[in-house]
């Protein structure tokens, strides 16, 4: 240890350790979570398209989490938790952007363009 010279900030400690098991698990899960929504839509499996939308959105959310955990190596202690903090902050902003835009613009459509809804 005491032989450590200036190079000590250059070992790979700051790059997270990755494993084949991690990537393989992530890949298998991602394939399953991709194939099912495509099958649901292309095979016209479900009667109601509202149900299909809900189900495939659910699959997308789960798949995004899978990619985050297994491919992007997200966890609560990488970079001292700052990664996760930045992610949560971004997710809140993304939610406000998406939900807010859709909500406001839907209201405008309903209230101000009565003849043009569908």
């Amino acid at each position: 240890m005491s032989e450590h010279t200036h190079d000590h900030d250059h070992h790979d400690a700051d790059i997270p350790h990755v494993s084949l098991k991690e990537y393989a698990t992530g890949f298998v899960l991602a394939v399953i979570l991709t194939v099912i929504p495509f099958w649901l839509v292309m095979g016209d499996v479900l009667e109601s398209s509202t149900t299909t939308v809900m189900v495939i959105l659910g699959f997308a959310l789960v798949q995004i989490v899978v990619h985050m955990v297994f491919f992007l190596h997200m966890n609560f202690h990488s970079e001292g938790g700052w990664n996760m903090l930045a992610l949560i902050f971004t997710l809140i902003l993304v939610f406000i952007t998406l939900a807010g835009s859709l909500w406001v613009m839907h209201n405008l459509n309903v209230n101000m363009m009565p003849g043009m809804m569908d």
């Binding site: 005491s2 000590h8 900030d9 070992h11 990755v18 991602a30 991709t34 292309m42 985050m68």
Partner: protein, 212 residues
């Protein structure tokens, strides 16, 4: 610099007295990975805005063609699998890098790049086809939002490939030095991030686009 902002560098210039402050295993702050993550998060906000635009204009066809008529899901399925496979091949590159095998790292990076190139070619083919049947970005609000969102993702993939080719030359010239390892890891975050965005694109744009 005040006394209490002591760093490893300061330590090495002092005499032995201060050495107990910073031992060899001290883990220095390397901001690159966190900084790159923050960049990805800001990129995420760009895509959020584009997704919101697409969501708002999602049914504004202006009498022109609709996504339901023109989207070719089997093409999208091929594209999706190309990107998904490229994620695991990048994983193989990371594993080879961890084992300090420069040849294996370069090989799997090249495979990843080729898969990305395949994705991009199919996407350009799709764009060309859409424009040639009269569904260009100027046709309606829907197609404007579509090309803005999918095109921005495609542009990211393109720059990812440029970065990847640059890295291949760096690796060839310098091998697996710490700087290159850091770069390969940053590109891996970028690449997997693009895959995350693509999950949103194929679900929200294509799969939901063909549903009545």
């Amino acid at each position: 610099m005040s006394e209490n902002t002591m760093t490893a560098d300061v330590n090495s210039t002092q005499d032995g007295q201060l050495e107990f402050l910073v031992k060899g295993d001290h883990h220095p702050q390397n901001g690159t990975l966190l900084g790159f993550w923050i960049y990805l998060m800001s990129d995420c906000l760009i895509f959020a805005a584009l997704f919101a635009t697409y969501g708002v204009l999602g049914r504004s066809y202006a009498g022109g063609p609709t996504g339901m008529e023109l989207f070719d899901l089997s093409l999208i399925a091929i594209n999706t699998s190309l990107l998904l496979v490229s994620s695991i091949t990048y994983g193989f590159a990371m594993l080879h890098m961890q084992a300090n095998k420069v040849k294996g790292t370069m090989f799997w990076l090249a495979v990843t790049g080729l898969l990305g190139l395949g994705f991009l070619s199919l996407e350009l083919y799709e764009f060309h086809h859409l424009i040639s049947v009269g569904a260009g970005p100027q046709t309606s609000g829907f197609w404007t939002a579509f090309f803005a969102l999918v095109g921005t993702h495609g542009l990211h993939v393109f720059f990812g490939i440029v970065w990847l080719v640059t890295l291949l030359f760096q690796l060839k010239k310098h091998g697996l030095i710490p700087e290159n390892k850091r770069r390969v890891f940053c590109l891996s975050m970028f690449w997997h991030f693009l895959d995350v965005v693509w999950v949103g694109v194929f679900t929200y744009v294509y799969l939901m686009g063909v549903l009545p």
